[in-house]
Subunit: 425 residues, 2 copies
């Protein structure tokens, strides 16, 4: 195969006709495939469904002397706090265990920041003239959506291979209107990047002008290797404390991609002062979160070491899917030279940058051929990818057979959109 | 026994010495008893713990074709929406099934009202000069706390034997700053009153000046008879619709006192327009609530009729406790003529009004003798009972043997505080 950039017009036209014919063939199959969201596959849910039977008797419901079935323990069952402290390498007193979704707690933090303020806020954010959030992008659309919902100005920070552009962040936080940054530090969504030690150190040592500047450290994929061994990851809570800003960071994790996406548990890790403050704040809205499910998870997952064994079993289902994506891209797209993508060893996504100005078109072509992709632009603030180039591939949900079909369509659409662009179609 | 009001000073002094001696005896026992919160007893939690085994296999996890274990169905599993529609006598499309706590959804509604507004809000409530909430009192302290947290002005509305003073409410809602009223319409907390048909009709026919005035209809005890048969209760959603303000009411219910207080499910019932609006709003913070637990509850509770059978079993545990309270009060306090109380047939509380100016003292005397009661004043906005008279008795948690001891202490403290007052001690 020849790179498109090396083809003359006649060659491009020939290729276009060939690819269009292929696309029409794909379309005629009447497919209905989905690579849009990071949903676990049925096989993954099946392999952890023995969690349903770890708690069956009255005696099983007790965490020491605490009855998980009754009200109380707003910050979480002691054993659940200890479990997450083990996972995130912090203290149980630095853990608040919430409900089914860490996203809900992130949104609660922002919501209360707007109406009441964080621990060190001079005033509620709704009383500020303007509030700005830093948004490394490509990033997680639901993070951006929360900021947009609350009317923050979203500022795009470019991603590098070691994490977000830290120089730019260090510059931006000198502005007291900059109140928050949202990151996925391990297997970032969608780039699959693990922040380097240097990046993490610079995060912990940020000296923001706003006394209530907060880092939302969404460690959603903290144990989510699907290839190779577990990658140890430093505890951001203690690093921020050592750097003299212990209350600057809120870390989040959940079991949404460990047990059930529709019935897991989640946690927030933060300084004890923040945990105390938010236990008070959350006490207005809650008597206690679902401690039965917290205990069920502790009984099933046991500790970090045992959870990592379970993650190996997830990996055996995930890895072939990512290999499928990689093989299709390497075989069909790499030689054509118009796109590049990451090759993650964990997380849930492959992030692909195709020919600028064609991502939206690729999405539409896929849709018309029965393959749903994440909306082009979704990985950028305001759903606006300035290059119209980034596409997030989420291969976890479909079985490999379907993924093969979907990647056939997707790579065809990538080519077709690129050729249309080159030929000014 | 002679009523205190009929005693002369010598008789009162004699009685005081006698009661004080009794109190000192109580104190010497070193008790540690709790009648503070409406927590289910261990025996109640035990009798529903077979819910832990209704869902054990992969096949059990499906609600039709929907896998409860994965993301999706933000408004709730279809079967869970149908369950609550059966309970509350409305349509499944008028139900949003949330997480473990209905209080959390109530707080979310208020929070979003402040930052974004309700469906018909001209502007977010944080942009209003002032926002006022009507608070029938005695009422539920956590309702008042949410209003206070968000800075609303709380206006006390007296309770009558048929519900809140509707004439006063109809007058107050002419003020466009009055945005919300909070009520527990069946077995009200703490009075145990069932709103009369007339009261309910007048609620549905309110013509508030604020276009976004909302009734928080917290139907926490909708199936919670502990004596006698289930009392049918009209559907407020359709009544408001018939009266021309379909979006004025948000009804809440939960299984916190049906299955597990620390691991149930909850629902909001409202007009389809409100459900649509809030499904959008909640979609910012959640991908989906815990559908595994929703399905577990549907499998266990089945429908309203079967749930009412389970409630009969709760009643067999609850009724002797309320009888115990009633017997102690009738025997020890009634003849003395300085206090009155309700005699509920459902809910979780007995509401007692003792001699004005003595409730706080009773609470302190109880505490010093090892019996924890709900804080005096808690049943009023700003924790301020203008008469310092109301005390909420929550007899559900302790076993009857302990309750006997606790009521012995409590009735002694009621007498002692009254005598102190009469004798200006």
């Amino acid at each position: 195969m020849t790179a498109y950039s090396c083809m003359n017009e006649a060659e491009l036209k020939y290729e276009y006709a060939r690819v269009l014919a292929k696309y029409d063939l794909c379309k005629s199959k009447g497919l209905n495939l989905n690579m849009a969201r990071g949903k676990p596959a049925k096989a993954q849910l099946d392999l952890v469904s023995d969690i349903l039977t770890v708690m069956t008797t009255v005696e099983d419901c007790f965490d020491g002397t605490i009855d998980s079935r009754n009200y109380g323990e707003l910050a979480g069952l002691p054993s659940a706090r200890a479990y997450w402290a083990d996972v995130l390498d912090c203290k149980p007193s630095e853990i608040f265990v919430g409900g089914a979704a860490s996203l809900n707690m992130m949104c609660d933090i922002v919501s209360r920041a707007y109406t009441h303020g964080l621990l060190h806020s001079p005033r509620p954010w709704c009383k500020e003239e303007k509030v700005k959030f830093l948004c490394p992008a490509p990033g997680y659309d639901r993070h951006f959506q929360i900021g947009e919902f609350y009317g923050a100005e979203l500022i795009t920070i470019p991603m590098t291979s070691t994490g977000p552009d830290m120089g730019m962040i260090e510059e931006y936080v000198k502005d007291p209107q900059v109140k928050m940054i949202w990151v996925v530090p391990k297997y970032s969504n969608p780039d699959g990047i693990i922040f380097s030690d240097e990046t993490i150190r610079r995060f912990a040592n940020l000296k923001p002008a706003a006394p209530d500047f907060a880092i939302i450290w969404d460690n959603a994929y903290c144990m989510h290797e699907f290839e190779g061994e577990y990658v140890p990851f430093p505890d951001i809570i203690s690093l921020c404390a050592e750097a003299g800003r212990p209350d600057m960071v809120f870390e989040f994790a959940s079991t949404s991609k460990i047990t059930f996406a529709g019935g897991g548990t989640s946690c927030m890790a933060a300084s004890e002062a923040n945990i105390d403050y938010f236990t008070g704040v959350f006490g207005v809205q809650m008597i206690s979160y679902d401690k039965v499910n917290q205990l069920r998870h502790v009984k099933y997952l046991k500790d970090k070491a045992h959870t990592l064994e379970i993650m190996k079993r997830h990996a055996s289902i995930m890895a072939p899917k990512f290999r499928c994506v990689s093989e299709w891209l390497n075989r069909e797209i790499a030689p054509l030279g118009f796109a590049h993508w990451n090759d993650p060893k964990g997380g849930y996504f492959v992030s692909l940058n195709t020919m600028p100005g064609t991502a939206k078109r690729v999405w539409q072509l896929c849709k018309d051929a029965g393959v749903t992709m994440t909306n082009a632009g979704a990985t950028f603030p305001y759903r606006n990818d300035p290059n119209d180039s980034n596409i997030r591939i989420a291969p976890s949900l479909p079985p490999v057979e379907e993924l093969e079909e979907a990647m056939d369509v997707f790579t065809t659409c990538l080519k077709l959109a690129a050729l249309e662009k080159l030929l000014n179609k």
